[in-house]
Structure formats: structure tokens, C-alpha cells
């Protein structure tokens, strides 16, 4: 992993849709590389044949009955919207 320890902070921030200041980029690059070096510890053991664990107690196919139930009103659902009009969210134009 060590040859991969160079994080392209612009690439990662773009993936995360996150604007970073120049100071943050400089600070994070160094810190994240230190953290990744620390992660290299994981290469010290053999995990071949080991199952990945996604959840402490695996549960599969948790199904609910397909029947309508009470839900939030449109008004309640939109109550926290930063901008709304006619019971809809307002965003900048996305198609020309």
C-alpha cells in the first residue's frame, strides 16, 4: 500500500462534492498521508480465506408488509428546505 500513499486531495474532494480551502487541502494532504501510513499495519497479517464482515450480526432480507401507512405531509417534509416555492424545492436551473 505504501506506494499508494499519495492522496490526490483535489480528486478525493471532488468525489465527495466538498469544497476545501487551500489551507485545508495542504493540511489534509499531509495528515491523510500520515493516517494511511498508519493503516499499513493492516498489511502485516494474512487475510486470505477470511470473510469480510459488514455487520456485527448479519441479517438478510428484512422485509416489511407492502401496505400504505402514515407518512410526513408535504408541508412537514419541506419545512426545513432552504428554498421552496409552490410546495417544491427550488434549485438553480440544471438543463439549458
Amino acid at each position: 500500500m505504501s506506494e499508494r500513499n499519495n492522496i490526490d486531495i483535489d480528486y478525493v474532494a471532488n468525489l465527495a462534492r466538498l469544497e476545501l480551502t487551500a489551507d485545508e487541502k495542504a493540511k489534509f494532504s499531509g495528515q491523510l498521508e500520515d493516517i494511511l501510513k498508519y493503516f499499513d499495519k493492516l498489511n502485516t497479517i494474512d487475510v486470505s480465506g477470511e470473510e469480510p464482515m459488514a455487520h456485527p450480526f448479519p441479517v438478510f432480507n428484512v422485509l416489511g408488509e407492502d401496505k400504505p401507512s402514515a407518512t410526513l405531509s408535504q408541508e412537514d417534509a419541506l419545512a426545513n428546505a432552504p428554498k421552496q416555492r409552490n410546495q417544491q424545492l427550488v434549485v438553480p436551473k440544471v438543463v439549458e
Binding site: 478525493v12 462534492r17 469544497e19 487475510v47 450480526f57 416489511g64 432552504p82
Partner: protein
């Protein structure tokens, strides 16, 4: 027993309420007055709802008068970490991005509190999105440790721990992803418990790392935490990871389960770097169990030192995915500086998230990104399995494990802020438990020479919370550490 109403436990208050020596209204008023007197120093609360709480206390008193009390927590105030949502109240996760968010619904844990007659009466501070071990990353304020106002209360549930320690509530609800209940409980000298994964619904718990997060209780005595766990646990169809089987009832078990137990000491949890006063206090707790007839055996958890890298890969990966919902479009802060749709995402998130949250989103996005997934995320999930197997193996021989909760007592503000790895190491004894999904609690077991609390961590078996609480209770009965309060 403390003379001040606000320092009594729910267990003591229940008798006083039943015997009509006090009313719930008087209790709530005492907690409100205490909070007014000390919270300008402690800074635990983000919001309180005093009038609503007094009205709920009035209703509780009426229930009690007519013999319709809802159980042992009826009329008892509970503070709530700012990431468990309550209908009509702000739920900000101590983040600017949710600064104006008011929840349109109640978390299942909150509904359960209401059903038990408990009174959720204030929202308490935390690290932003529960990312931190000191409550310093909150956007709003710095909560201090009631034992030493120059020190951090621990985190991320620092507000919960501090307000319980300072007598600003009787009980509190926090959440624990890597130690966020147990570590602040240890540093503030109170009891904090992380339940078995799946026993308390996560519906309405604002997600950080979904496979690790659990809601749990804070209190000043073991029985109180057991009662609060009994009230909030149970299957919930609204959380697909909720456990559908039977969950033990714990408060009553304290009187029936008396040991002696077989207790394991994992040698990996006593490194040379462990603070010597903490080491001595934990050793003395172990001796006290031995004197009570418990068999003490050394056990091994050989993958312990891999927990921090595994945790910070899995938790940041899950967080980067969970936090993608804060888009500036639907219910969060939206930047005023946007000229197009993409700008809304980039600028709203850039302005809305604090430094630690951004750092973790970047790390999580990186470990999940194309070309790195197998080397980091998948590998971490495999090592996570090894860590769980360590615990399963150890528990073939013992009923519970005894360890320190934190490698150091409360540290000073700013001491670790600029060094993420050192901050992450604050959780070295607690995060394995989350990775494995086991239950654990932290119990006060002494004070350092500098008068700072020390916590004993007791790790139990999944779905055996009754034993876990009983083991803690037997130590509490023999010592006075839980009755110590800070001078504020």
C-alpha cells in the same frame, strides 16, 4: 445518598416520588435551577425546553396520583444528545450544516422514553456528527469537564457525560460508534453503556457509521442505566438491523444475579503506555472482584492493535456515504454563494462541515474510491471479522472482560486537536467492542492524584446485558466511586 435533589439517582427518586416526598415538578425545577446555576461554566446544553418539561412533569404527577404511573422512569428528566431527533426540536448534530434543522418526527428511542413517562428536557452538545473524542469539534460551544474546567469532557457524547456529572440532569441518552459513550463517561466519572448492536433502534439516530452506531444510557448509578436500557431497547421494524429476538430485562436482574463470575483480563489492554494511576486503579478493581470470589483469568485478543486502522477505514467509509445526504438542497444549510447546481453541493458542504468532518469524508471517499477499495475497505472488513473472532474465542472461557476505558484521564483543551492519530488513539480500548458488536459499559473506579475520574470498562457477551449490569452493580455496591461528585 446526596442531599441535593439534582444529584440523586433515578432509583432514589423513584422511592421519593412514590412516597410523595417530592413531586416530578419539584424535581424538574431543581434540575432547571441547577442548570441555570452551573451551565454557564459547563456548557453542556445546546437547548432546553423548560416549560414543556414542567408540563410533562405535571402530567407525570397526575398519573402517579391516580395510580397510573408508567414505570420506574416516570417523571425523571433525561437529556438527549443532539443527534437523536425529537419532533419539533432542533437536531443539529452540533454542525453548522444542520443549524436550522427542526425534526419532523421522533426517534424510536424518544418514543420509548415518552412511553416510560421519562421527560426528555434538553439537547446536549457533542462532537460534530459524533466525530471526535473531546467534544471540541462542536460548531456551537466547548463543553468542559466538570472535574476540571480546563479539561475536555471526552467525546463524542461529552455533553451527556458532563451534564450527568454536574447534576444538570438525572439521566442522559448518548450514542457510541467507537467509544463515544464509554470514554466521556470514564473521563467525567459517571456510568455510560453501549448496548449490543441491534438492541436499541437506530431509527431517528442521525447516522455516522451505521454498522457501529448504538444509542445508550448515561447515569450516576448502575441500576439507573439498566432501567434506561430496559426502557429504550426492543425490536423496531423501522430499523432493518434491529434485533428481533428477546432482549434481557436488566434492572430486575441486579437483584437476582450475584455471581461469582469468571472474568477475563486481556493483556493487550495493559500496554506500557497506559497511565500508571489508571493501571493501578483497574488492578485494584480486578482484585476487588477476586476477593468477592470471582475467578480471574488472562485472555488474549491478538488483533487488538489493528482495531484503530480497521475502525478508521470502516467508520470513515460509512460516514462519507451517510453524510452525502447533506446536499444543501433538501433540508440543510445552503450556501448563498452558488451560481449553479453543482456549486450548491460543493459550497454548502464546504461551509457547513467543520474540519474533522471534512477530513473524515475525504478519508472515507478515498478508501472507497476505485482502485483502493480492495486494499483498504475490503481488507478492513476481513480484519474486522478476525477481531470479532478474538472476542468470541475469549468469551468461551469467561463471562466478561475487565479493561481500562481510556488510556489516559481527561486531557486539556487543544492538546490533541492538531494531531488526528493521537486523538484517534483515545479510543484504543473501546473501538474493538463496536467492531465486534458486543455490549460494554464504563464504571467509575477511582480518581487520579489530580482528582480526575478513572473508568473501568466491563465488556459483556452479546444479548447478556443483564450479566453486564449485574457485574458492574456488584463493584458499585462495594465501593463509593459512583457517589463522588465534582466541586463546581
Amino acid at each position: 445518598m446526596s442531599d441535593e435533589i439534582y444529584y440523586k439517582t433515578a432509583t432514589e427518586l423513584r422511592s421519593l416520588l412514590d412516597e410523595k416526598q417530592i413531586s416530578s415538578v419539584e424535581l424538574i425545577q431543581a434540575v432547571i435551577d441547577r442548570t441555570h446555576a452551573v451551565d454557564s461554566k459547563i456548557n453542556a446544553y445546546l437547548d432546553t425546553n423548560e416549560n414543556q418539561a414542567l408540563a410533562m412533569a405535571q402530567a407525570s404527577d397526575e398519573r402517579r396520583a391516580s395510580g397510573q404511573t408508567r414505570g420506574p422512569l416516570d417523571g425523571i428528566p433525561v437529556s438527549v444528545k443532539d443527534l437523536i431527533v425529537e419532533k419539533g426540536k432542533k437536531a443539529r448534530c452540533a454542525s453548522r450544516i444542520l443549524e436550522n434543522f427542526t425534526s419532523p418526527y421522533d426517534a424510536t428511542a424518544i418514543i420509548n422514553l415518552h412511553n416510560a413517562g421519562a421527560i426528555p428536557w434538553g439537547r446536549v452538545n457533542m462532537d460534530e456528527f459524533a466525530m471526535g473524542s473531546s467534544t471540541e469539534t462542536s460548531y456551537f460551544k466547548k463543553t468542559v469537564n466538570p472535574w476540571d474546567l480546563e479539561r475536555i469532557p471526552g467525546g463524542s457524547s461529552g455533553g451527556s457525560a458532563a451534564c450527568v456529572a454536574a447534576g444538570e440532569t438525572i439521566l442522559s441518552l448518548g450514542s457510541d460508534t467507537g467509544g463515544s459513550i464509554r470514554q466521556p463517561a470514564a473521563l467525567c466519572g459517571v456510568i455510560g453503556m453501549k448496548p449490543t448492536y441491534g438492541t436499541v433502534s437506530r431509527h431517528g439516530l442521525i447516522a455516522f457509521a451505521s454498522s457501529l452506531d448504538q444509542i445508550g444510557p448515561f447515569s450516576r448509578c448502575v441500576e439507573d442505566s439498566a432501567m434506561l436500557f430496559d426502557a429504550i431497547s426492543g425490536h423496531d421494524p423501522l430499523d432493518s438491523t434491529s434485533y428481533a429476538g428477546e432482549i434481557p430485562k436488566c434492572a430486575d436482574a441486579l437483584r437476582t444475579k450475584k455471581g461469582p463470575w469468571k472474568l477475563g483480563i486481556p493483556k493487550e489492554y495493559f500496554p506500557d503506555t497506559l497511565d500508571p494511576e489508571i493501571h493501578a486503579a483497574i488492578k485494584s478493581a480486578i482484585e476487588s472482584y477476586r476477593e468477592k470470589g470471582c475467578e480471574i483469568v488472562e485472555v488474549e485478543l491478538p488483533h487488538t492493535d489493528l482495531a484503530i486502522p480497521v475502525y478508521y477505514i470502516i467508520a470513515t467509509a460509512e460516514a462519507s456515504s451517510n453524510l452525502s445526504r447533506y446536499d444543501g438542497i433538501r433540508y440543510t444549510h445552503r450556501s448563498d454563494e452558488t451560481s449553479n447546481a453543482l456549486d450548491i453541493y460543493f459550497k454548502s458542504r464546504g461551509e457547513g462541515f467543520g474540519e474533522e468532518v471534512k477530513r473524515r469524508i475525504c478519508l472515507g471517499s478515498f478508501v472507497l474510491s476505485s482502485g483502493y477499495y480492495d486494499a483498504y475497505y475490503l481488507r478492513a472488513q476481513k480484519v474486522r471479522n478476525l477481531i470479532r473472532k478474538d472476542f468470541q474465542e475469549a468469551f468461551k472461557k469467561v463471562d466478561a472482560l475487565l479493561t481500562p476505558t481510556s488510556p489516559t484521564p481527561a486531557f486539556k483543551f487543544g492538546e490533541r486537536s492538531d494531531d488526528p492519530i493521537t486523538m484517534y488513539l483515545s479510543d484504543i480500548f473501546t473501538i474493538n467492542v463496536n467492531l465486534a458488536g458486543f455490549p460494554a459499559l464504563s464504571l467509575p473506579c477511582g480518581l487520579t492524584s489530580g482528582n480526575l475520574p478513572i473508568g473501568l470498562q466491563i465488556i459483556g457477551q452479546p444479548l447478556k446485558e443483564d450479566d453486564l449490569f449485574a457485574i458492574a452493580h456488584s463493584h458499585e455496591e462495594a465501593h463509593d466511586y459512583c457517589k463522588l461528585h465534582p466541586c463546581i
